[in-house]
Every structure is written in structure tokens, then in C-alpha cells.
């Protein structure tokens, strides 16, 4: 269904929207009041009906994840917000945290009520100083107003929300590494199972959700899950914040119905290419996603449709590159990132990411590759699926994608003994 409705970006034109007064002026915290009169099961049913898919990259349905918590437990339950936004090319959660932080706070409160949790930690990437400031201020304001604390809105219910800064490690975006980091340790992912919903933070049942996922919850509670679902495609409910960067005329962020096509984002909203050079390719949702070619842009931007064309929606923030860009150089930069960010725990990732990076650099310099470009594909194959967390996959998949879509160009580096561009 086409819609002009905006949710998380509805009042960006109000410069005070990030303050509590500004947020309340536009109806903020009414959803919390409504939620506190509902039962946890009623709230969970709405979130399920909303077809709200996780916005952290994997698109797991939030309502289903919430159902994984143990029915009975004597332990405290935690909600953890993944605000570690670090997937290269991604810049959407920062917008929410800096321009509309109370939607996240209100979402945390409603989610805690539904999950029978009393504490949320918002794990914010350490480099995002302005996001940390805005979230800390929003928490303080909400606490002063009685939305957070010992007796939320006089109901007798206790709910605490704390901001927790990261300290520079992309791996902490992976949910179990994030939990380790929250416990004051190095961010090294845990084996799953047990999944965090059963044994997570401080060994207690824990739900980890992305900023954007939870920020949509207040609107869903106020307006109904089905209404939200109706904006999107069949199994991908509602709106989503999409990003656009790279060689387009107007980079930026837009909130659109799920299933909008890439070509609408790039050509209508982004104004097409910045100059005379045509598009060479597009990385759909962060550096871990295999690229698409210009003739694939009619693909709807939902998790399932993008998967069908061999890549991933990821974070929904696309990066466009024009003709003249060397995809080997771009691939080398991506490989360098994953080598740097591998936590070192699993051998295939620790060794494989470095091996991959060094060989792509060699290729770019026109040096001989023992085994040709098939070598690169085989390194990827040895990383894929062989590690505790998906960082290894995230390093291998884009390179395999570049080989598939731009293999001729990669081969020409070998044939010519130099970069052809």
C-alpha cells in the first residue's frame, strides 16, 4: 500500500522535537499511557500483527523474538538496545537518537512492560558523541517527568533505562559481543545456543533489538499493528528509514513503506547520479551486502525480495557508485575494514580476513595472484559459515558478490598487471 504517513521522521521540521516538551507537543508518551492499561500479551500481539522485522540487519520478526523469553523465570529480564551503529554505509539510528530520542525511550518503556523487564541498557557506539548526549538528556528528562523510575506514571511499576557507551569495536554490534561488552569485557561473541532470550546479559533472559525496531513500537501501540503492517509488503510490515549515500545528487535519509524500490530511492528521492557518469553499482544495506547492478534496481526494498536477488537489505542504507570507480579498490577497503574489526577469536575469520585483504591489495597493485581470482573466492568459501558469529560471513559475502558481478574487471587486473582504471 502506498502511503504518505511518516512516523519516526514526522516532525523533523520541529527543531525542538528531540526535547521532552517538543515530543509531548506532538502526542509523545500517549502510547505509553495506553500500553500501561494493556496486558503484556496484548502488546505482544500488536507487535506480532505489525510484522515488525528487526532493523539491525537480519530482519528477524520482533514479535517472534519476544516470544522466545522463558514463560516462567525467577531471574530479572533485560531489554538491550543495539545502538552500536557501525556497519559501514549506515547512518539511520543516529538520526533517531539525535532528532527523535524520545521515541526510542518510549519504545523501551512499552517493550519493558510487554516483556516484564524492569531495566533497559542502550548500548551506544562510543564514537557517536552527539547521540550519547541526546539519549542521556532524553533519559534525564523522562526520569524527571516520572516516565522512568520507581513508580512509572503512578502505576507502582519500576522501569530504569541507562545509556551505556561503547569504546570503539565494530564487533560489539553483534548481539552476544554486545552483551559481553556490557558486562565489562572484551567484545568477543558467544556461541549460540543458548540464545540471549534464554541466557543473555548477566546470564539472565535478554531481548536485544535495534534502535529503529523499538522506536516504531509506540506508533504501533497507538495505531494498531495491522495498520502498521498494511503500509509494507506481505511479511515486511510498516515503514522503514532508508539511507542513500555515495555518488548521487541528493544523499540523505527517507522514511518509506517497506518494499519501495531501489530505483525510486535513487532516482526520485536521490535525484539520480551526481554527474555525467552512469551508475556502476549499488551496495544495498551496508558493506556486508553483495552489490547490485543498475539493472536490478526495480527490486523492492524488503528483506525477502532483496534476498531473492542474492543479496541482503541489511540496514537499508544504500551506497551508490558511478562508472570509473575501481571495484577492486572498493573491495579492498571493505576487506580492510573486516580485517581490522575481526575480534580474533575464530581462526577462519582472524586469518581469513587478513589473507583476503592482502590478496585484494595485491590484485589492485597488479601483482600476480597464486591461483588467480579463484583464490579470493576460495578464501571466502573457507570463512563462510565457519565462525561463531556472522562477522566472518559479513567479510566474505561482499567479496564474493563483487567477484560475481564485476569478475571481468577483477580478472583484467591480472591480465594487464595493473588497475585498468
Amino acid at each position: 500500500m502506498k502511503t504518505d504517513v511518516k512516523i519516526l521522521t514526522a516532525h523533523l521540521d520541529d527543531p525542538a522535537w528531540h526535547t521532552l516538551a517538543g515530543y509531548e507537543r506532538h502526542g509523545g508518551y500517549n502510547a505509553l499511557r495506553k500500553a500501561l492499561k494493556m496486558t503484556p500479551d496484548e502488546i505482544k500481539a500488536e507487535v506480532k500483527a505489525a510484522n515488525l522485522r528487526g532493523r539491525g540487519g537480519a530482519g528477524f520478526p520482533a514479535g517472534i523474538k519476544w516470544g522466545f523469553l522463558p514463560k516462567e523465570t525467577t531471574k530479572p529480564i533485560y531489554l538491550v538496545i543495539n545502538a552500536d551503529e557501525g556497519e559501514p554505509g549506515t547512518f539511520k539510528d543516529r538520526l533517531i537518537m539525535e532528532r527523535n530520542p524520545h521515541s526510542l525511550i518510549e519504545g523501551c518503556l512499552i517493550a519493558c512492560w510487554a516483556l516484564r523487564a524492569n531495566t533497559t541498557y542502550i548500548y551506544i557506539r562510543g564514537e557517536l558523541f552527539s547521540s550519547i548526549q541526546r539519549i542521556e538528556r532524553a533519559i534525564a528528562e523522562a526520569r524527571a517527568k516520572g516516565y522512568i523510575g520507581k513508580n512509572v506514571l503512578g502505576t507502582g511499576w519500576t522501569c530504569e533505562i541507562h545509556a551505556h557507551p561503547g569504546a570503539g569495536a565494530y564487533i560489539c554490534g553483534e548481539e552476544t559481543a554486545l552483551i559481553e561488552s556490557l558486562e565489562g569485557k572484551a567484545g568477543q561473541p558467544r556461541n549460540k545456543p543458548p540464545f540471549p532470550a534464554i541466557q543473555g546479559l548477566f546470564d539472565c533472559p535478554t531481548i536485544v533489538n535495534n534502535v529503529e525496531t523499538i522506536a516504531y513500537v509506540p506508533w504501533i501501540i497507538e495505531n494498531g499493528g495491522q495498520t502498521f503492517a498494511s503500509f509494507g509488503t506481505e511479511r515486511n510490515g510498516g515503514l522503514k528509514i532508508y539511507g542513500l549515500s555515495g555518488h548521487v545528487k541528493r544523499p540523505g535519509l527517507w522514511e518509506l513503506p517497506m518494499g519501495t524500490t531501489f530505483s525510486y530511492l535513487v532516482n526520485e528521492l536521490g535525484g539520480g547520479m551526481r554527474g555525467a557518469k552512469p551508475m556502476k553499482g549499488l551496495i544495498p544495506g551496508g558493506s556486508s551486502c553483495p552489490p547490485l547492478l543498475p539493472n536490478e534496481l526495480d527490486t523492492p526494498m524488503d528483506f525477502d525480495a532483496v534476498k531473492k536477488v542474492g543479496t541482503m537489505l541489511g540496514t537499508g542504507c544504500a551506497t551508490v557508485f558511478e562508472e570509473g570507480v575501481c571495484t577492486v579498490r572498493l573491495g579492498a577497503r571493505i576487506a580492510k575494514f573486516y580485517e581490522h574489526e575481526s575480534c580474533g577469536q575464530c581462526t577462519p575469520c582472524r586469518e581469513g580476513t587478513g589473507w583476503l585483504h592482502r590478496n585484494i591489495e595485491k590484485l589492485e597493485r597488479g601483482e600476480r595472484l597464486e591461483g588467480g581470482i579463484q583464490l579470493l573466492d576460495s578464501i571466502c568459501g573457507r570463512i563462510l559459515g565457519n565462525t561463531i558469529c556472522a562477522l566472518g560471513d559479513a567479510a566474505a559475502m561482499p567479496i564474493q558478490g563483487f567477484l560475481k558481478k564485476f569478475g571481468d574487471e577483477w580478472q583484467r587486473h591480472i591480465d594487464l598487471g595493473r588497475c585498468p582504471l
Partner: protein, 173 residues
């Protein structure tokens, strides 16, 4: 030398520790606090933090070295962070970084002789829509990271920015 938190840092420390069911969980935020207080995370600071939290020093050391934001040696007043990841890679980040290395006369993570600038090539700053992105933090003004949202599309603009920061330091601000 025995280290001690200032009164305001002590208060902040107590607030942080109270957020968690155990003291080790406060380690990352407390290391940030210690870095603000003591400039960088020296072995003495690690020892101090370990004592404050009742965590073995070796664990503090492991954490302090795992995360890139904890400086193990002194850094300059202005931390100039240049992104060269995908969106910035495409729109001029590497050129800005190369230019700044030359202009400031330092290598990656190097600090200028006058202790004003530390230059670092960083990963995606989540500012891809405004690329190329540079973030600059000022030790003397922790409240306002300078985060450039307009395109730094020409090297003279980058030069002007550095000159502005130099003037700010000279003026005693």
C-alpha cells in the same frame, strides 16, 4: 603518584556503578571517565580503575587494549578523525586523510609536535549522507564534538578548518 578522582568525577563514578548489578559491568564507562580525568589510560590508571571496581588489573588491561577509544599514551588536544570507509572512500575521504597527513606532518595516529592535533583514519562515522565526514573532538570542550555535516568537498575547506582550530588554541579558548 597516587591517583584520585575529582569530586565531580567521584560523583559520576558512583552514579555509573549504581546502574549495574555488579561492578565489572561499569568498566567501559568508568574507563571513559578515567580518560577524561587523567588524559589517557596509563598502567597506573588501569591499576587505579581496577582498585576502584574491585576487578583484577589484568582484566582491566585486556579491556583497555581491546577497545580503540582508550588512549594508552598522551594524545593531542584536537582529535581529528577522518573517515575513509565506503561512502567517504567514494567521495574524497582518502584524499583528505592524505592531505592532512602532509599538512600536519604526522602519520596515522600521530600527534603534532605542539601537542595540538592527533590525526586518525577511522571507520564509518555513521554520517554517510554528509560524506566525506570528519569528526573532531576537543579535550577542553567535551560537550561539543565538531561534526561536519556539510560536504568537505575541497581541500581548502579542510585547511581552513585546521587553521580555525589553531587560532582557537592560540586565543586561549
Amino acid at each position: 603518584m597516587t591517583l584520585a578522582f575529582s569530586q565531580s568525577a567521584r560523583q559520576r563514578f558512583d552514579e555509573i556503578v549504581a546502574r549495574y548489578p555488579n561492578r565489572q559491568a561499569a568498566l567501559l564507562p568508568v574507563l571513559h571517565l578515567a580518560q577524561q580525568e587523567f588524559d589517557h589510560i596509563s598502567p597506573e590508571v588501569m591499576q587505579f580503575v581496577a582498585e576502584q571496581l574491585g576487578v583484577p588489573p589484568v582484566k582491566v588491561q585486556h579491556v583497555a587494549t581491546f577497545y580503540t577509544m582508550y588512549n594508552k599514551k598522551p594524545v593531542g588536544r584536537f582529535h581529528v578523525q577522518v573517515c575513509t570507509n565506503i561512502a567517504c572512500h567514494l567521495t574524497g575521504g582518502p584524499e583528505i586523510f592524505a592531505h592532512l597527513k602532509k599538512k600536519l606532518g604526522v602519520a596515522n595516529k600521530g600527534t603534532t609536535a605542539d601537542d595540538l592535533f592527533t590525526l586518525e583514519e577511522v571507520e564509518c562515522l555513521a554520517a554517510c549522507g554528509y560524506s566525506p565526514a570528519i569528526q573532531i573532538t576537543d579535550k577542553k570542550d567535551r560537550e561539543t564534538p565538531i561534526f561536519f555535516r556539510e560536504n568537505l568537498d575541497s581541500l581548502p575547506k579542510v585547511d581552513a578548518l585546521i587553521d580555525e582550530l589553531r587560532a582557537k588554541a592560540k586565543g586561549g579558548a
